[in-house]
């Protein structure tokens, strides 16, 4: 890998913008109890208030402070996003690298399974499962990870296949190194930037999915999330409350996804070096 990921992102305008947005969202999620003026779950009799100094974004249909819910919603989105990102990248690396190194029947069977999962639309599977098992945040992270590592495994395998032919691996092999040792010491470290790109897109997909599923009502009803807030707001679209209820929530969600897209795209030349210099943005 002779491409410096940090440099790649720093040199791209959208990459910097994306990173800035992401840091902002992470800060919002971490500092939620400090930023939010109210308890996001505290109901009150003053429902559907317009924005005011005491309620920056007004209140919702059960009198909860929308701004506080928005701030705490970032936690759910990012928790699911990063959770799934880490877990699915981990699974993708384990299966992708092991397929490349072990080869043979193991690789063949594994890659057919990977391909099969790539064709099956994930959301539909989750909807079916959650019709039976009400997901909590933790099980949602688990389901999403189990269904989304396959794309990464493909890329990781392809990369590991080429790394496998390098001199250092041959040398290690001649000393009798095990598959695990080779993977850990010689392949995974060189996958670095690719892991990061896979991770970023994994987070993005999960943030998207979590919001969509919550919008359909598939979520932990006791945890506030952006998708759930937008679903609540949809039932009041005939009132003018959408201006401070729906739009800020939707924008927060979209900004998070845009931030991740920009960072991911800036880092993409790592996977496809032919794209380098394509945009001097």
């Amino acid at each position: 890998m002779h491409i410096d990921l940090k440099k790649e992102i720093k040199e791209s305008g959208p990459g910097k913008t994306g990173l800035f947005i992401l840091l902002l969202m992470v800060a919002m999620a971490l500092l939620a109890p400090v930023i939010a003026p109210y308890n996001p779950y505290q109901q009150s009799t003053t429902s559907l208030l317009p924005p005011s100094l005491s309620h920056w974004l007004g209140t919702n249909h059960v009198g909860q402070d929308i701004w506080s819910r928005l701030v705490f919603g970032a936690r759910t989105s990012l928790l699911v996003g990063f959770g799934v990102g880490i877990l699915s990248t981990l699974l993708g690396t384990i299966f992708g690298v092991s397929a490349a190194l072990v080869g043979g029947l193991y690789e063949k069977v594994l890659m057919r399974i990977v391909d099969a999962f790539i064709v099956i639309p994930m959301i539909i599977v989750i909807i079916l499962i959650s019709a039976y098992i009400r997901p909590s945040i933790l099980t949602l992270i688990l389901f999403l990870s189990l269904l989304s590592w396959q794309g990464g495994a493909r890329i990781m395998r392809a990369q590991a296949l080429s790394l496998k032919e390098r001199g250092n691996v041959a040398a290690a092999k001649s000393f009798g190194a095990s598959h695990f040792y080779i993977a850990w010491r010689h392949v995974v470290p060189d996958l670095g930037p690719i892991l990061l790109v896979d991770f970023i897109y994994g987070v993005r997909r999960a943030v998207f999915m979590e919001a969509g599923l919550a919008f359909l009502g598939i979520t932990d009803p006791t945890v506030v999330s952006w998708g759930m807030m937008m679903r609540d707001a949809l039932s009041f679209s005939y009132l003018n409350v959408w201006q401070w209820w729906l739009v800020p929530t939707g924008v927060a969600l979209s900004l998070t996804i845009i931030g991740l897209t920009f960072v991911g795209h800036a880092a993409e030349p790592v996977i496809e070096p032919r794209l380098r210099g394509a945009e001097v943005a």
Binding site: P14, R112, I113, D115, A116, F117, I118, V119, I120, P121, M122, I123, I124, V125, I127, L128, I129, A131, Y132, F208, A211, G212, F215, L216, G217, I218, M230, A233, L234, S237, Y238, W242, L246, V247, G250, L253, S254, L255, T256, I257, I258, G259, T261, F262, H265, E272, R274, L275, A278, E279, V280, A281
Partner: protein, 323 residues
């Protein structure tokens, strides 16, 4: 490309879908009949009906016989019975399917075509101001979830300006026919299609633009330029056509995405397709419908992918030698 590899892949996918549908309700704690049929059925349940259903699913027999009964019913096109709608699942779904096909089909064609054209134009001007603006703009658009786009369109064009209808696929009890009916359908279709198309434009655009950039470096582009061909021919016939190939392979995966996207958009516009049906079924815990929709959608996406695999070598003969 009907290779053995692909056949195995599709078989695994199909088996996974079928076994999920079979095992999930049967693994639930409690009465499996309840898990297969949902709350609604219990209200309508008489002892005779219960006995009939237990026999129909072979629920008193060992698992492998249940599996046999399941496959037998499936082959007969029997997806079960919805007690919520009081109709066979297959006819409930088939009644909704045309709307979803109309919505998904139109959006898929529009978003792919627009994506390719924008990608060609943007890639041709790579590095320029226009290209950078298009790239940033379309990537931002990609960040908007389809249901958010749908709600924004609904509020702007439906609620505020009242140009388009708010919900449904037809004006109820209007008694329209002929051209007036067609116009009514299109008017209701416009906003959902716009939301889906905008939400799914970017993948086609990015892919075409990326390929365009690599294709433009090919020697044959230089030859074509040296022949003095016009810019339009260079851009669309020489570079553009070759940049479209990867888009075709991806269309299969997009079918899946657009179908699931339709689910959200249909919910926003109360568009009476399969997606809205799924939402209603989730609310009513109407398990037979959820299972039926899952099976139909998953299998249609598989078939779409399969057909695209078949057609690909016709578009790019190099592929058939690659295997």
């Amino acid at each position: 490309m009907l290779s053995k590899q692909n056949l195995v892949t599709y078989t695994i996918a199909l088996l996974f879908i079928l076994s999920l549908n079979f095992f999930l309700p049967r693994m639930m704690p409690g009465d499996p009949l309840m898990a297969i049929y949902g709350d609604e059925a219990l209200i309508a349940m008489t002892p005779e009906l219960k006995a009939h259903l237990i026999e129909r699913f072979a629920l008193d027999k060992p698992l492998w016989q249940q599996l046999g009964a399941y496959f037998l019913a499936l082959f007969q096109g029997d997806l079960g019975y919805s007690y919520y709608y009081n109709a066979p699942v297959s006819s409930v779904i088939l009644g909704r399917l045309p709307w979803t096909l109309l919505l998904v089909g139109t959006s898929l064609v529009l978003s792919t075509m627009l994506g390719i054209i924008l990608g060609i134009e943007s890639g041709w001007r790579r590095g320029s101001k226009t290209d950078r603006a298009m790239l940033a703009g379309l990537m931002s658009l990609n960040g908007f979830p389809d249901f958010f786009l749908g709600m924004l369109l609904l509020i702007a064009f439906g609620v505020t300006w009242g140009i388009f209808p708010l919900a449904g696929a037809l004006t109820p009890y209007s008694g329209l026919s002929g051209l007036a009916l067609l116009f009514d359908v299109l008017r209701h279709l416009f906003l959902p299609v716009a939301a889906l198309t905008l939400a799914h434009l970017t993948s086609g655009y990015l892919l075409t633009r990326n390929t365009m950039i690599t294709v433009l470096k090919e020697p044959y582009m230089l030859t074509a330029k040296a022949k003095g061909l016009s810019q339009r021919v260079l851009k669309y016939r020489h570079a553009g056509r070759n940049s479209m190939l990867p888009v075709v392979t991806q269309t299969g995966i997009w079918v899946g995405r657009v179908v699931t996207g339709a689910l959200f958009v249909e919910l926003v516009f109360a568009y009476p397709g399969v997606g809205y049906l799924t939402y209603e079924a989730l609310l009513a815990r109407d398990y037979p419908i959820i299972q039926g929709v899952f099976l139909m959608v998953a299998i249609s996406v598989l078939v779409a992918n399969f057909l695209i695999d078949l057609s690909y070598p016709k578009l790019d003969p190099r592929v058939s030698y690659a295997y």
